[in-house]
């Protein structure tokens, strides 16, 4: 492979086109499952504009976080998901049907970032796990700069979103119970699209993490606190 010529016949891994009917069907089924198999609670969902570009910066505790956001948000939202999730027997088809943009973690996946920017610039809403991966200990992790980068590139409003209780869904089902799950949104932050240097991205990421921390119950916060 060379640096300038794309390999012949390489599959297109990203599909910025959303199939609205399929999305709405899957969203309806997922919402029904959440309403019947858990106790969902939401707060401040109006912080997310019903139309126009938006970026949801979400903490990540469980595989159920993405479906929870899809089920409860009052608009279509495109999740960013790890490439390996595409092959998951349940979440893979859900992610594909809802137009997920798959990204290869640990690599410079410019095509995925471009696809996210394209969705936002076309007036779509994307949901991105700001910590980059699921929390290994249930506590809020350090944020990555990818979300701030998307906001600086597009000027789209950035909405802090906290999800919790989703890590209790499986344990509750095993006891034939229903977990209480939460989605709470913070007020939007808008960046100057010109402000694209690492210091500004670091600062924006700190602000978003601080806002998410403010939405989460104390038991989900690291003992060392969240840097502001």
């Amino acid at each position: 492979m060379t640096a300038t010529e794309p390999p012949a016949g390489s599959p297109r891994r990203y599909s910025p086109r959303l199939r609205p009917l399929l999305y709405d069907l899957v969203q309806g089924v997922i919402r029904f499952l959440f309403l019947t198999l858990s106790h969902p609670k939401t707060a401040n969902l109006d912080a997310c504009p019903r139309q126009g570009p938006a970026i949801l910066a979400v903490n990540h505790l469980s595989y159920f976080d993405g479906p929870m956001v899809l089920a409860m948000l009052p608009r279509r939202v495109r999740p960013m998901a790890a490439e390996r999730l595409r092959r998951h027997y349940f979440f893979g088809p859900v992610m594909v049907a809802t137009g997920a943009i798959f990204i290869r973690r640990g690599q410079m996946d410019r095509a995925a970032m471009r696809a996210l920017v394209e969705v936002i610039e076309e007036g779509g809403c994307v949901a991105v796990a700001i910590e980059g991966t699921r929390s290994p200990d249930g506590k809020l992790q350090e944020g990555k700069n990818g979300v701030a980068y998307l906001a600086a590139k597009t000027g789209a409003p950035l909405i802090p979103a906290a999800v919790w209780g989703t890590e209790q869904i499986w344990p509750a089902w095993k006891r034939l119970g229903r977990a209480e799950v939460h989605l709470s949104l913070g007020d939007p932050i808008t960046l100057d699209p010109q402000a694209l240097d690492v210091s500004t991205l670091d600062e924006t990421t700190r602000v978003i993490m601080s806002r998410i921390a403010g939405l989460l119950p104390a038991r989900y916060l690291p003992e060392t606190g969240v840097q502001e």
Binding site: T2, A3, T4, E5, Q107, N145, S199
Partner: protein
């Protein structure tokens, strides 16, 4: 374009992306020094975008995905600019 000239372009690009680390970038004398900076993927992505615009070159997404070291980047630039 020599390796030193390419490193100079990379240093300038990095200083624009992360001005607060300019002193570190000034110390870069080889591609291996760049690797030791521990740049994250967003910084590298923005650097690559700026290098493409500044030098009038283009990298494929697959090349960037598979790039493992700064030496790969320097070699790719060398192959594209006279």
């Amino acid at each position: 374009m020599t390796t030193e000239e390419i490193l100079d372009q990379i240093r300038k690009g990095l200083e624009a992306v992360a001005p607060s680390r300019a002193a570190e970038f000034h110390k870069v004398k080889s591609p291996e020094d760049l690797d030791s900076l521990g740049l994250d993927s967003i910084t590298t992505l923005e650097l690559v975008d700026r290098l493409e615009k500044r030098l009038g070159i283009a990298f494929t997404d697959d090349f960037l995905m598979d790039m493992t070291s700064a030496r790969d980047l320097v070699a790719a630039i060398q192959s594209q600019v006279a």
